[in-house]
C-alpha cells in the first residue's frame, strides 16, 4: 500500500466504485423518500381531519424516529434478509415523521376563514384539499420533505452494513482500514448529496401553487421512483453469495488477497459484522468473512475454511500500552502479563459464545473466568491513579477489557475506567495515541497490516511467520509511536472464511482452494 496517495488519486483510482456507490445512495434515499411521501402525506391529511388519531400516529412515528438506525436495520434482517429491501424500509420509517408532522401542521395552519369561504362558495371537499389546503400547506410540507431528505442521506450511509451499498461502504471501510482518503471519498459526496438535494427541494418549495393537480405531481415522483430502482446494486443470481465486512473488502489479507492469491471469483456484498453471521445462518449469505474465535461460529454452526495458501497473517492478541503509562505505573506490565498463555483459540471461542449467544454480560464472563483460573482478588479500592482501558466494538474485546479491569483492581492501587465500544481499529488506535485511553487489546496482524502498512518486501519476508510479525510490530510501534506490545494472550483471532457446516460438507469444501474450484465449476 502506498503511503503518499492523495485524496484525488484515490478518487481517480476508485471512480467507478465511487459512482456506483453514489448512485446506489441516491437510489436508496429517493425510493424510500418517495414511498414515505406517498404514504405520509395522506396520513398527515387524515390526522388533520380526524384529530383524535393525531396524537397516536405522531407518537408512533416519533418512536420510530428514536430507534437507533443500526438497531432498526438489524431487526429487519430476519424478515427481509439483507440488501436494499430492509434498508429502504428503515429509511422509509425514518422519513415518515417529518413528512406526516409537517403535512398535519401545514394543513392545520391554514386560516379557517379561508376554508370556511371555500365551503361557503360551494367547493367540494376534494377541491378544498387540492386548491386550498394543500397549496397553502405546501411550503410547510416541503420543509418536512427537506428534513426527511437530509436525514435519509445521512442514515443511508448505514445501509452499507446490511449489504445495500451506498457511500457508507467507503466511510466504514475507511474507518476500519485507517484510510482517511477512503473515509473522505464517502463522506464528502454524502454531504454534497444532502446539500444539493436540499437546495433543489428549496427551489420547489418556493413555487406558488394555485392548486395541486395530483397527476402532475405524481408523474415526476413515479418517474424518479422507477429510475431509482436501476441505481441499486443488482444482486444474487442463484450462485453463491459472499458477505464481507467493509474492512475485509479493502484489505490485502482480506478480499484483495483472496482475489490475487486464490483467484476467488464470488459475488460479494458489503455487510456489517453485527448481522453477517446471522445472515449466513439464515441462508442469506453462503460465505462470510469471520473471526476464528467468534462465539457465533459455535452458535450458528459455521465452520472455517482452511487457509491453505496462507493469506491471513497471524492475529495474536496482546495489550498495546503507551510507554509513558508503563513508566508511571511499572507494576502494570506484570499484572497484564498474568493473562499471557491462559487463553487459547477454543477457550476464547467458548468465552465469546457465552457473551454472543448465551447473552451473559462481559462482566460476568470475565468474573467467572478469573475465579476459575484463581486470578481473582477483591478490588483494593485505593486510588493511586486511573488506568483507562479501551476496547473495540465486539464481544471478545469487551471480555478482555473486563478481565484486565479485575486484574488491575485486584493487584494494584490503581482505579480503572473502561472505554468500551470504540468503533474500529482507527478509532481505538487514535484514542491511544491521543492519550484518551492507556491501553487496549490489539491483534498482531492488524497492527502489522492496518496500522504500520509495511512495504511488499517486509510482507513477503514475514508471511506466515508468527513470531516475526510480533517482533516487527513491537519494534516498529516503539519506534514510531512509543507504544509497547505486551506478551500475547495466546489465542489467534485471525480472519477466516466461513460457511454453514451442512453446505460445506455437502459440497465437499474444506479449504479456500476447494471453494474456488467449486465456484469455477459452476
Amino acid at each position: 500500500m502506498e503511503h503518499t496517495q492523495s485524496f484525488w488519486q484515490f478518487v481517480d483510482q476508485q471512480s467507478g466504485k465511487l459512482w456506483s456507490q453514489t448512485w446506489a445512495h441516491i437510489g436508496l434515499t429517493m425510493i424510500s423518500l418517495i414511498i414515505a411521501i406517498l404514504i405520509a402525506v395522506p396520513v398527515g391529511i387524515f390526522i388533520a381531519r380526524k384529530e383524535k388519531f393525531a396524537g397516536a400516529i405522531l407518537g408512533f412515528a416519533g418512536v420510530l424516529q428514536t430507534i437507533p438506525s443500526i438497531a432498526l436495520l438489524g431487526v429487519m434482517i430476519p424478515f427481509l434478509g439483507i440488501g436494499p429491501k430492509p434498508a429502504i424500509l428503515a429509511l422509509f420509517l425514518y422519513a415518515l415523521l417529518p413528512v406526516i408532522r409537517n403535512t398535519y401542521t401545514g394543513i392545520k395552519e391554514v386560516n379557517p376563514a379561508v376554508i370556511d369561504a371555500a365551503r361557503g362558495m360551494g367547493m367540494s371537499k376534494w377541491q378544498i384539499l387540492s386548491k386550498v389546503e394543500l397549496p397553502l400547506a405546501f411550503p410547510v410540507l416541503m420543509a418536512g420533505i427537506r428534513t426527511a431528505t437530509v436525514i435519509n442521506v445521512g442514515v443511508a450511509t448505514l445501509a452499507a452494513y446490511i449489504a445495500a451499498g451506498g457511500l457508507g461502504e467507503f466511510i466504514f471501510g475507511g474507518i476500519a482500514l485507517n484510510n482517511s482518503n477512503m473515509i473522505l471519498a464517502g463522506a464528502i459526496p454524502a454531504a454534497l448529496l444532502a446539500i444539493v438535494l436540499d437546495f433543489l427541494l428549496s427551489l420547489v418549495q418556493k413555487v406558488n401553487l394555485k392548486s395541486i393537480r395530483l397527476t402532475y405531481l405524481l408523474l415526476p415522483f413515479i418517474f424518479i421512483l422507477m429510475s431509482s430502482f436501476y441505481l441499486l446494486p443488482t444482486q444474487i443470481g442463484g450462485r453463491m453469495l459472499g458477505g464481507f465486512t467493509p474492512e475485509f473488502m479493502g484489505r490485502e489479507d482480506g478480499y484483495l488477497g483472496l482475489k490475487k492469491i486464490y483467484h476467488l471469483g464470488i459475488e460479494t456484498v458489503v455487510i456489517s459484522d453485527a448481522v453477517m453471521y446471522k445472515s449466513a445462518f439464515e441462508h442469506k449469505l453462503d460465505v462470510i468473512s469471520g473471526y476464528s474465535t467468534d462465539g457465533r461460529l459455535k452458535a450458528f454452526d459455521l465452520i472455517t475454511l482452511k487457509d491453505d495458501k496462507h493469506i491471513f497473517p497471524p492475529y495474536y492478541a496482546a495489550p498495546v500500552v503507551r510507554e509513558d503509562v508503563l513508566k508511571r505505573y511499572p507494576e502494570l506490565e506484570g499484572i497484564l502479563n498474568q493473562l499471557s498463555g491462559l487463553i487459547n483459540d477454543s477457550t476464547m471461542t467458548a468465552l465469546n459464545y457465552k457473551v454472543d449467544h448465551l447473552k451473559q454480560t462481559p462482566e460476568k464472563v470475565a468474573l467467572d473466568f478469573t475465579v476459575a483460573h484463581h486470578l481473582f482478588k477483591p478490588a483494593r479500592g485505593t486510588t493511586k491513579g486511573t488506568i483507562r482501558i479501551g476496547s473495540k466494538i465486539f464481544g471478545e474485546q469487551y471480555i478482555l477489557a473486563q478481565i484486565y479491569k479485575i486484574l488491575i483492581r485486584g493487584n494494584s492501587d490503581l482505579q480503572v475506567e473502561t472505554k468500551t465500544g470504540l468503533g474500529g481499529t482507527k478509532i481505538c488506535f487514535d484514542a491511544l495515541t491521543n492519550n484518551q485511553i492507556d491501553f487496549y487489546p490489539e491483534y498482531t496482524g492488524t497492527g502489522f497490516l492496518v496500522l504500520l502498512k509495511p512495504d511488499e518486501k517486509t510482507m513477503t519476508r514475514l508471511n506466515g511467520d508468527t513470531d516475526g510479525v510480533y517482533k516487527y510490530v513491537d519494534q516498529e510501534f516503539k519506534r514510531q509511536y512509543k507504544i509497547k506490545w505486551l506478551k500475547p494472550i495466546g489465542f489467534n483471532n485471525t480472519y477466516a472464511l466461513m460457511m454453514r457446516r451442512e453446505q460445506a460438507q455437502s459440497l465437499h469444501i474444506e479449504s479456500i482452494t476447494d471453494l474456488t474450484k467449486h465456484l469455477n465449476q459452476n
Binding site: N111, A113, V114, D116, A117, A118, R119, G120, M121, G122, M123, S124, Q127, V132, P135, L136, N208, L209, K210
Partner: protein, 304 residues
C-alpha cells in the same frame, strides 16, 4: 323566498339554536342581531348547509334545501364573511373567478363580469393582479363582496361583513353598499352584533338571545313596540339615535317632498352638514325646513 322552520342545533350539551322560524321575502334585507353566542351565525350557516340542523327545515323557493347537494346549493347563494376569506395564494382576479370557475364559465364572461363589478365597487383595475395581502381592509372587503356577487346569486348571506373594519371605514362602506344597485334587488340575510348597522341595513331585524328569537319586525317596531323587556333594554343605550334612524322623513312630514327611504337621521346629517358651511351655494334656496323644525316634527310624531 326563504323560509326557516323550527331550526334546532345543539353542540354537545349546549343548545345553540332552539326552535327558530322566520320567513324572508324576495328582495328583503333581514338582519340577525344579537350578542355573541346568541346563535345568529349558526342560524345563518344552516341556511346554506355549512351546518346541518338537528331539527327543522329550510325552504328556498318552496324547496327543501336538503333535496339538492350542498355544494350546488352554495354555488347559488352568495356568502360574505367577516374576515373576507380571500384565498391568500390567489390574486384578486383569481379570487373573484372562483365560483364562475366552479360553474365552468367561459373566460371572456368572467372577465366581463369582473370588470363590471370592479367598476361598481370602486376597485382600481390595477388591483386585479395583486394578492389579497397587498390590499387595505376596505379593499379586501369589497373584493370579498365582488366575489360573492360574481354569478349574480339571488340570495346573499353576510356574516358580520364589516366586522373587521375600523369604524370610519365601516360607516363609509356601509353607506356605499346600501346604495349599490347589485344589492338592492337581492334577498339578503345579514348577521351583526352592531345595533347601528342593523338599523341602517335591515328592512327587518330579527333580535335573538340564547338561541331564541326575541322579536322580529321592522326597526321601528322593535324600537317603539318592544314585546318584552329584553328587547326594550337592548336598544336603551342608543335609543335616540336609533329612533332617528328608524323613522322615515315621509312619515314625519307627510306633505314634504322627499325620497321614500330617507330617514330622519339622513336628513339631520344633511342639514348639519349645510349649517357647518356658510356658503350660500350649498344651501339650496328651496329648502323649507331647518334642524329646529325637524326636531319639533319628530317630538310631535313621537307623542302622537
Amino acid at each position: 323566498m326563504i323560509k326557516a322552520e323550527n331550526l334546532v342545533k345543539k353542540f354537545g350539551t349546549s343548545v345553540a339554536v332552539n326552535g327558530i322560524s322566520f320567513e324572508v321575502k324576495e328582495g328583503e334585507n333581514l338582519v340577525l342581531l344579537g350578542t355573541s353566542g346568541c346563535g345568529k351565525t349558526t342560524t345563518l350557516r344552516m341556511l346554506n348547509r355549512l351546518i346541518e340542523p338537528d331539527e327543522g327545515s329550510v325552504y328556498i323557493h318552496g324547496k327543501n334545501i336538503t333535496a339538492s347537494n350542498p355544494e350546488e346549493l352554495r354555488r347559488g347563494i352568495g356568502y360574505v364573511l367577516q374576515n373576507h376569506g380571500l384565498f391568500p395564494h390567489y390574486t384578486v382576479a383569481e379570487n373573484i373567478a372562483i365560483v364562475p370557475g366552479l360553474l365552468k364559465w367561459e373566460k371572456a364572461a368572467v372577465k366581463k363580469r369582473s370588470d363590471e363589478l370592479f367598476h361598481k365597487l370602486n376597485l382600481d383595475a390595477s388591483l386585479a393582479d395583486q394578492y389579497p395581502s397587498a390590499l387595505s381592509g376596505g379593499q379586501q372587503q369589497r373584493v370579498g363582496l365582488a366575489r360573492s356577487l360574481m354569478v349574480d346569486p339571488p340570495i346573499l348571506l353576510m356574516d358580520e361583513p364589516f366586522g373587521a373594519l375600523d369604524n370610519v371605514t365601516r360607516a363609509g362602506i356601509r353607506k356605499e353598499f346600501r346604495q349599490l344597485d347589485e344589492l338592492v334587488k337581492k334577498t339578503i340575510i345579514m348577521v351583526t352584533h352592531d345595533v347601528q348597522e342593523a338599523f341602517e341595513m335591515g328592512d327587518r331585524i330579527c333580535l335573538m338571545d340564547q338561541g331564541v328569537i326575541q322579536q322580529i319586525g321592522t326597526p321601528a317596531a322593535l324600537l317603539f313596540k318592544p314585546v318584552n323587556s329584553f328587547v326594550a333594554g337592548f336598544f336603551e343605550e342608543q335609543r335616540l339615535q336609533l329612533e332617528f334612524k328608524s323613522v322615515l322623513l315621509a312619515d314625519l312630514l307627510p306633505g314634504y317632498e322627499t325620497d321614500k327611504t330617507t330617514t330622519v337621521w339622513d336628513k339631520m346629517n344633511e342639514l348639519l352638514l349645510v349649517s357647518q358651511d356658510d356658503s350660500q351655494e350649498v344651501n339650496p334656496a328651496n329648502e323649507t325646513i331647518g334642524i329646529k323644525e325637524l326636531m319639533n316634527a319628530f317630538s310631535f310624531y313621537k307623542n302622537k
